[in-house]
């Protein structure tokens, strides 16, 4: 009899779907959101014992900390170079595989494979390649150049970029391939009939349809660029050469010294920066890609 009041069972569906979300929501609250609130609180008190409110002084202290500044600068520089590179190169790979070349699916497999190779497994090969007397330097010397000790010089970031691209291009390429396949064919055909060349088509039509994917790839690559710490750690350990000292190194060392105030301030600051960057990207995508969305 109850059913007659609620013929479609909407209420039941709503209750069921709320119950389904509940376990996840509880876990997220307990392990992420509530503790993050505590982290924000910790970032504004002087120490966990006296709990005196000190406003932003932990943040100001952070900005006068040389280790933090160096780590932020290195991480920022790495991301600023590697993320756009990852975007352009993965798009190039996707466009390349769109053409009429033999063995397409094999190439897709090859380009995607580094994603599924554990970082730790290939570390030794990177060492062989980038060692002071390693393969890359031998090739450079063959051509009369001078090798550098990659892991112990200011060129170290270059090899980090290589390792990052190697691992991440495949994933981005798949995203671009799907987006390219989703562009309405009729529009391209009309453009072709009107005499638009491939390059014109790419920059004036395809790129606009790709803009949501471009934003997503930018965000994703940025997140992944912070995971480069894994490679750096596996290659050089806790205290790498100055230029390879990443934010995660700073966090690890601050954890070791149990300085929760500094840690909390760094985490909150990092979160804020990320949110601002993501917001800017999403808003600019909204403006740029508005006319192609239906």
């Amino acid at each position: 009899m109850k059913r007659s009041k609620d013929p479609c069972g909407r209420r039941r569906v709503r209750i069921a779907s709320n119950l389904c979300i509940l376990p996840s929501l509880l876990g997220v609250l307990i392990f992420f959101l509530i503790p993050f609130g505590i982290v924000v609180y910790y970032s504004m008190i002087n120490n966990p014992n006296t709990k005196q409110f000190v406003g932003l002084s932990n943040y100001i202290k952070l900005f006068s900390n040389n280790a933090f500044l160096a780590a932020a600068k290195n991480t920022g520089l790495f991301s600023a170079v590697s993320v756009p590179l990852a975007l352009v190169l993965s798009l190039a790979l996707a466009v390349m595989l769109e053409r009429n070349i033999p063995g397409k699916s094999a190439f897709r497999t090859f380009f995607l494979s580094p994603l599924m190779v554990p970082t730790a497994s290939v570390v030794l090969v990177w060492q062989v390649l980038f060692h002071n007397h390693g393969t890359i330097n031998q090739i450079i010397e063959q051509f009369g150049g001078h090798g550098v000790d990659w892991l112990k010089s200011s060129h170290g970031q270059i090899i980090l970029i290589c390792m990052f691209l190697w691992k991440n291009l495949g994933y981005n390429m798949i995203l671009f391939m799907a987006a390219l396949a989703g562009i309405p064919k009729d529009i391209l055909e009309v453009a072709e009939l009107e005499g638009a060349g491939r390059i014109y088509q790419f920059f004036h039509i395809k790129l606009r349809y790709l803009s949501p994917t471009i934003v997503f790839v930018l965000i994703l690559s940025m997140i992944n660029s912070f995971k480069i710490f894994r490679e750096v750690y596996l290659l050089t350990g806790d205290y790498p050469y100055d230029k390879l000292y990443m934010l995660q190194h700073f966090m690890n060392n601050t954890f070791a010294s149990l300085d929760y105030q500094k840690l909390s301030a760094a985490a909150v600051l990092f979160a804020a920066v990320m949110i601002v960057i993501i917001a800017v990207l999403l808003i600019s995508e909204n403006i740029f890609g508005k006319d192609v969305e239906n």
Partner: protein, 312 residues
Amino acid sequence: MTRLKRRRAGDAVCTVVAILAAFLFLMPTVLTIANSFMTSSEIAANYGAMFSNMTDDKKVFISENVNLKFIPDKVTLDQYKAVLLKSPDYLMKFWNSVILTVPITFFQLLVAVFASYGFARSKGKIKAIIFFAYIILMLMPYQVTLVPNFLVAEFIKSTITNIFYPNGEIPNGLANMRWAIILPGIFSPFSIFLLTKAMKRIPVAYTEAARLDGAGELQILFRIYLPLCRGALVSVAMLVFIDFWNMVEQPLILMKDANYHPLSVFLSQINTGDVGLAFAVGVVYMVPTILMFLYGEDDLVEGITYSGGIKG
């Protein structure tokens, strides 16, 4: 006519570039596998220079240069024998990786299947806000989430110790901190994001029809939704697995006892010790993920495609 010719030439150039790129992409993996069949003396002869720098006092100089070799002089399984039979340390660390990664992957998927169903099945303002919060959380790097994780772990550990073990002797299961990595891993929202997007593509007509036939919510989830997003499920499982199989950040911060570190962290310490084994250990470590990739590549590609785009 000239246009067609130009296109053909372009295709040829692209093929060459693709072959070169494929070489670069495959080389590190292939090299690791090929070198794992070398004898340890051959490795010492070729790569000895790399490691003699580290221990200056006992220089066993063989060659000034590091020689990159694709094909071993003599193919042998000695490295594998040593890894699998003679050095229990590596197997232990491999087991540490398994016991962290498998529960995280399984339970993260379990939680996510239900939650995504909840998000995809009915809409609402509060749900939209929660989902948005999940996306933001998903986009936070470890450098942000590890601090809250650490605080919770410390809190749980000290609370349980105070209540149940006031004399301070805590059992191994609590002290090894595996749970401190596994629990937040289970609730990490990445798979919810991807699965919800896959489930939202399922036409409403399917569920309406099932309801008319008298199917309950659980039946709809398990009989209709799950079979229809099988590809996305496989893909999420692979992506979650490889992400945690690669973990370095969490164990370094949450686990003080290096005995419980997974192989992904331990492999970095191998350099100084038995170099002869390192390639074989690397290969053993990539076997599970490579197998997954070979079996599930199409599903993986499908799942990655779903993940594109933050909105809708």
